[in-house]
Symmetry: none
Subunit: 192 residues, 4 copies
DNA sequence: AATGAATGAGATTTCATTCAT
DNA sequence: AATGAATGAAATCTCATTCAT
């Protein structure tokens, strides 16, 4: 019966944009509020403090990406189909919302400690993908622990390609590299 | 000759340790000075301000890594030898100075803008390596621009593996993964 | 007749508890409202603002104590009986509602200025008691103005004993000290 | 070799004056700094925060009063002499520095929790005085624990008289009441 | 030369109070 | 009528940097 929250979404959007443009620490509460068209104090009704806002943005985006990957993979049956679908879905997201990717790049290592240990992350989806492919004999059986190494390599190829597009070392859009990234990933996974 | 500056190295070491532990922005001049055992003002004898210190740390480390890679590569003749030597040299450095790697991870995207356009970076070494291998026909001739894509993939495999060790998703030391990382990289590079 | 206000008493009780636990200034409207199970705005239906709530709590308690003392004294005829009855009544109140005593201790000096000059306070009851005893020659006739000094001493004995129980320098309950406090007070009052 | 601290004492003096005049919570850092003629940040070099300043002021004053009492008592041999000397010394201090007394009154109950358990307080001096008098048979032997009750009464008489002067219910200066307070205290102590 | 006290500018956060729903 | 979101104003505190000693 009180008035419905009107500042929450604008604040999230404004924060994301400004964090990406001027870095998290280079962006003050004042700017976020002004950009969102509300008062500074409004932020504190929705998040305990600036850090909580940053963490929430990060974890929500990670959850989104995780769900995106899981949904894309669920629709496919072969390893190649899954890798391609996952890559395509994620690159499509980043083409449409480049800020999200940039934000994650900026904060991932600083926020690594803040991730709840039981939170399922995008990288867990990839690890499961690799494990599942091994079970189904779509790839050679990896030695114990080696599956994580393979997941790391796949994620590395995927991410660093996106970084190269972001920094315009190769021309965008990112989606045009779905196929070569998929093939490189498969090549690594299918190693004897 | 003037006596060597006394506080410079302790300050760099203190800054690196604290930046890694509590983030750059979470570390104040006071703490750096105290940790280095000197006064706050001493820092300003060696760098114009805090930002200059951070930038210098980053760029010096990037130069170190670049030289390390170039020296390692120069001693080898085959593509496989070069990739392996580069990977081994870098992983050895990171095993011995894990803080350096962590620091680079933390600041790389925020400091990307500060890099002088003519500064030769480690990634340029990898790009040259790929280009050179193509010229020597050690790998299939990449389409125009594709060489950067290959470099990105190689760097991604290399970096993400190091990240996995850093976060203890796979056990260290990093050097034990020189061989699988090398083989994965080669597999990607030699793609038909 | 209008239905009775629903939030008033819970708000008073919540405020008292939190003020005592975390100090007046350390307790916000939000906390009071939450603790009372109502909205923040509800407080403003009953008091003009936070300060008015604090003042009302204080003055109401002072009035309660004053009435308590007067009723106790009215039932007795001798000085000793009056002192004992007053002491017993007040200590019984504080044993049953220790928060009230603690609250009064916390705010008394800060709120001293806010007391209306014509408001009859507990200390006035004691002053009257002393004056009355002098008139009835139950104690030696005090010099002009000395009656207040005696009242101060009696109140001091009474209060500081309660403080000692509150801080557990002597064991409670407070009521067990009615007799020694009464005797000490009488000894001071009956001074030659 | 750096410049000597210039703001510390002015800050303490300014804080004391303003706390007494407008209450602790009613006085901002800004006002303290302005009144002391220095910047707000200077305060944080000397105390961790506002609360630490308040606590330090309180505890330092308590230590001063404790030493004052102990010195006064040490010079006397009889119980009466000691009580009178202690009372005279303290009342002289409060006549000369009424702010100190007012400040202690304002904050004592809010800061009670902050006192280190091993800190010797003025009230401990009084308790020792009573205990010592009992040992020397200057007063009747108190029952176990009763010595604290006597100390409470003595302190109550002493303090509440000072409160009455502060609030001008009896005329000052406080020192004029040394004798009646002493006699009242002795009367209570010598109770059969 | 070296220190660390002092500072100015600004950051974050708090809070009583108001107001749209 | 009652809520709790929003606010304005201020409070506390931080911090890189300067400067007197």
């Amino acid at each position: 019966m009180a008035r419905p929250p009107k500042a929450r979404e604008p604040l999230k959007q404004a924060a994301l944009e400004l964090f990406v443009e001027r870095s998290v620490h280079g962006t003050g509460i004042r700017e976020i509020a002004k950009h969102a068209g509300c008062s500074e104090a409004a932020l504190y009704r929705h998040w305990a403090n600036k850090e909580a806002l940053v963490t929430a943005l990060f974890q929500e985006h990670m959850n989104d990406v995780r769900d995106l990957l899981e949904n894309a993979i669920a629709k496919e049956t072969t390893l190649e189909g899954k890798v391609r679908a996952a890559c395509r879905a994620a690159y499509k997201l980043y083409d449409e919302h480049p800020q999200v990717f940039r934000f994650v790049l900026l904060v991932q290592h600083e926020l690594a400690k803040s991730i709840p240990p039981d939170m399922r992350m995008p990288q867990d989806v990839v690890a499961d993908l690799v494990r599942d492919a091994a079970v189904k004999a779509e790839i050679p059986k990896p030695a114990k622990g080696e599956e994580f190494l393979l997941a790391a390599a796949v994620i590395g190829i995927f991410l660093e390609t996106a970084v190269y597009v972001l920094y315009q070392r190769v021309p965008g859009p990112l989606s045009r590299y779905v196929e070569p990234v998929t093939q490189s990933a498969l090549r690594v996974l299918r190693a004897k």
